[in-house]
Structures are given as structure tokens and as C-alpha cells.
Amino acid sequence: MDKPKAAFYWCASCGGCEESLVDLNEAVIKVLTAVDMVLMPVAMDFKYEDVRKLADKEITVSFINGAIRTSEQEELVKLLRKKSIYVIAYGACSHLGGVPGLANFYKKESILDRAYIESESTVNPEKKLPKMKTTVEGKELELPEFYDRVYALNQVIDVDYYIPGCPPVPDVVKNAIVALLKGALPPKGSILTPNKSLCKDCPRQESKPDKLSIKEFKRPYEIMDNGDCFLQQGVICLGISTRTGCESSCINANMPCRGCFGPTDNVMESGSKASSAISSIIDTNDEQEIDAIMDTIVDPAGLFYRYSLPASILGKNIKIKK
């Protein structure tokens, strides 16, 4: 009997999601022998043409990581959608836009200028920028188009399931693969992690007081961590508005949560919800004092939307100033 076919494609990503497969340790060998990989640019040499030759729905599952920014990525994910029964958005970037999504704060032109002209290590006196078409020795070369903004995967194609995380943790991946192989999948559109907040599983949960109150926000390097709840120590931790399932990896490494697992099901977007929660624990009613405390939050949009700008309510059609 034929093995089920699978693809593991990357878009605008760092490769950390591929690393997370290796985190499965020995199990990864079992998984990879149980399926027939048809596309996996990081490890195997298949051409796009091989995928085009497959029949529609021939691939059982495509794991797609990374956000979408170029025409090549768009074309490939649309192709994989056509050829696959299931498409799983793998990792924070394809789930919510992720860190590459922060580029949406800037215009395409200023990004290209910075990267190819202004940056300190660049020498480019002729101010050459990448072009979609270049002629070299009479032959025309093509580059994919660089879009105006970054998209999350579900803004480009229909997505069946989401595996969140930057990167996804082994347990979440294992559970997803087992569910897939057993055919015990939840309803379409589900995020394959528990639907509760990180605080519920937090190892520092006990030191979280019933009523948090903060007079000044600090950044992680400004405190001597005493092992208590980060919010109690005045460090913004987004565990309150972030899905659990990550095994508290950051908290265990003594860093506050930054929200890579995204919101729970009953929250539209984690960014504004987190800002709401954080502002309500500020311990003053005096307007000037509130202003002063707010000034200690550096780059609020970048903080609350670190992994979710493209998927946020206004991020879908953000108007860019710079």
C-alpha cells in the first residue's frame, strides 16, 4: 500500500520550524519513514515541477511554515493547497504572521533602501535595487515579486489546522501527527493546542497574587529575578493572553512570555486584549501618573503584536506611515 504523501514547505521563515522537527528526536525517523515526502526544500532535492506533476489532492498533508511575502511563496502555497487534502499552518509565522510580520510597520521601499543602500555594511554607490527582471548576456533572469506587506497563511489560502509556536514544541507536533495518522482530527480550523491561557500551566503560577498592581514597568534586564510571577515583578508577561501548550519554555528559561502561541479561541486578537489586561493592572487613577507609567512601556505595538501583526484586526489593512 502506498504511504501517505506529505510536504514540508517554508516561506518567509528562519528555519526554526524545520529544526522543531528534529526536536522530535528518534520519532522523526519513524514519522519520515511512515510518510512519503514530496517536497521539503530544507532537506531534500525535489523540484517544484515534481509537485506540479502530482494529481490534485494526492498529498495527504502539507505543513507550511513562514509568512507570505513574495510571489514565489504565494504560488507555491496555492499549488500545495490544490494538491493537498490537509494544509497545516506550522509555526507562528504562518499562523499569525510572526516576527517577519513586523515588517508591516514599514513600507516596502524603506525596507529595500535600508537593506541594499543605507545599512552600514553595504557599499552600493550606484544604488542598485533588486529587480524582477534582469538581462544578463542576452538572457532574461527573473526574481519573485516582493509584495507590499507580509501575510499570514490564512490570508492567502484556506487553512485546515494550525500548529502554533515559535517554534512549535515537540509535544504539540507529536499530538498533531498522531491525530492526523489516526484520523482523529478536531473540527476544521482548530488550533491544535489546549484552549486556555499560559498562566494556567505556568510554573510561577503560585506567586501570582489575586490582585496584581503595577507602579512601573521594567524590562527583563532591569530586574533581579526572584522567581516570582513576572507581572508581580513589574515585567510585562503576555502569558495572561496567550494560549498554553508551549511547556512554559520561556518561563523555564527565566524569560517572560511574548505571545508566540497566539490568542485563545474566544479572543479575536491577542494584542489589544493583552494591552487591555496590562493597562487594567496599573495601580493608579491619576491621569498624569498613568501617562508616566505608560511611558515606561517601550514600543507597545511591537510588544503586544510581536507575533501577530499581519493577523491582527487593523494589521489586515494597516496604513503605513514611514
Binding site: 504511504k3 506587506r149 487594567s280 491621569e287 496604513k319
Partner: protein, 174 residues
């Protein structure tokens, strides 16, 4: 000016809504583009509501509540104040100009102040012009259709290709 902005105002049940009521009884006028949404308290207004209002086409959004110290629920309006301060900063970074979002205190007896505040807001937003947000996605309806048919495939189709032993084996290892 031709531009007629749409402005959503969340009014608290105990003060600002009563003020709007009073303005109505006085036969005072304010522009038709202003839509009031009554909530029990200004502290009920989640920042998500405000973003959603902008997303769905509002050119300006306002929260109105009781004056500090007058909240029916003791400190709901203070919570609204703190949330508004932080949201204002975030909106700035997201490219929504400061004047498009306002928090004002209007008590039940201040029908005149209600009219004044509302008209000021309307004029300010009118000067700024429409909030030009375009729905922007690469999602094509053609792809969506082919996809929908595929997603009806039952999960069993996956297991058919794997025999049971193999599944169990994988499960054990995992």
C-alpha cells in the same frame, strides 16, 4: 466639506447615554453620521471593539463615561482611562491618527457638553478625511472553492493508506 464621517461612540448607560437622551429632549442637533452604542459602563469597552469599529469602516471612535469618581461601578471609568491611554499609543503606531480616537467624560446632566464634544469630534474627523483602509488579501475565491470540496474529505481517508500496526507503532514511539 462633502465628506461625512462615520463615528461610533460607546456611551455608558448611567451618565453619557442619559446626556444623549437629554440632548434629544432639548431638540439639540448633532450629525447623522454619529452612531451611539450603549454599554453598561465605559470600563466594558474592550480595545478589540474599537479596533473592530475602525476595521468595519468607522472614521472615528469615541468612548464616553462618567466623570472620574462618579462611576456607577466605582472604578470602571478609570479602567477605561488606562486602556484608552495605552490603546492611543498603539493606534499611533498602527497609523491611526490621534484625533480619530477620544475618551470623554460626560455626566447625565451635561446634555450641552454632549453636543459640544460630539460636534468637535465630528469636525476633527472631517478635517482628517476618511480612514482609508482597503480590504487587502491574496486570497482568491477560485482557490477557496477548490479547497472547500477537498476539506470535506473524511479523516478516514488518511488512515486507509497506513495499516493499523504501523499507526500503533508510530504512536508508541511518539
Amino acid at each position: 466639506m462633502d465628506f461625512k464621517p462615520k463615528i461610533v461612540i460607546f456611551v455608558c448607560n448611567w451618565c453619557s447615554y442619559a446626556a444623549a437622551d437629554g440632548a434629544g429632549m432639548k431638540r439639540a442637533k448633532y450629525p447623522a453620521g454619529i452612531k451611539l452604542i450603549r454599554v453598561m459602563c465605559s470600563g466594558r469597552v474592550d480595545p478589540q471593539f474599537i479596533l473592530q469599529a475602525f476595521h468595519q469602516g468607522a472614521d472615528g471612535v469615541m468612548i464616553m463615561g462618567c466623570h472620574p469618581g462618579d462611576c456607577h461601578y466605582k472604578e470602571g471609568n478609570y479602567k477605561a482611562l488606562r486602556r484608552a491611554k495605552l490603546l492611543q499609543k498603539i493606534l499611533d503606531q498602527l497609523g491611526v491618527e490621534g484625533d480619530r480616537f477620544k475618551l470623554e467624560w460626560v455626566s447625565a446632566s451635561e446634555a450641552d457638553r454632549f453636543i459640544k464634544v460630539v460636534n468637535e469630534m465630528y469636525e476633527n474627523v472631517q478635517k482628517l478625511g476618511p480612514l482609508d483602509y482597503k480590504a487587502d488579501t491574496l486570497f482568491s475565491s477560485e482557490v477557496a472553492e477548490t479547497v472547500e470540496q477537498g476539506s470535506e474529505t473524511t479523516p478516514e481517508s488518511v488512515t486507509e493508506t497506513l495499516d493499523n500496526n504501523e499507526t500503533e507503532e508510530i504512536e508508541q514511539i511518539l
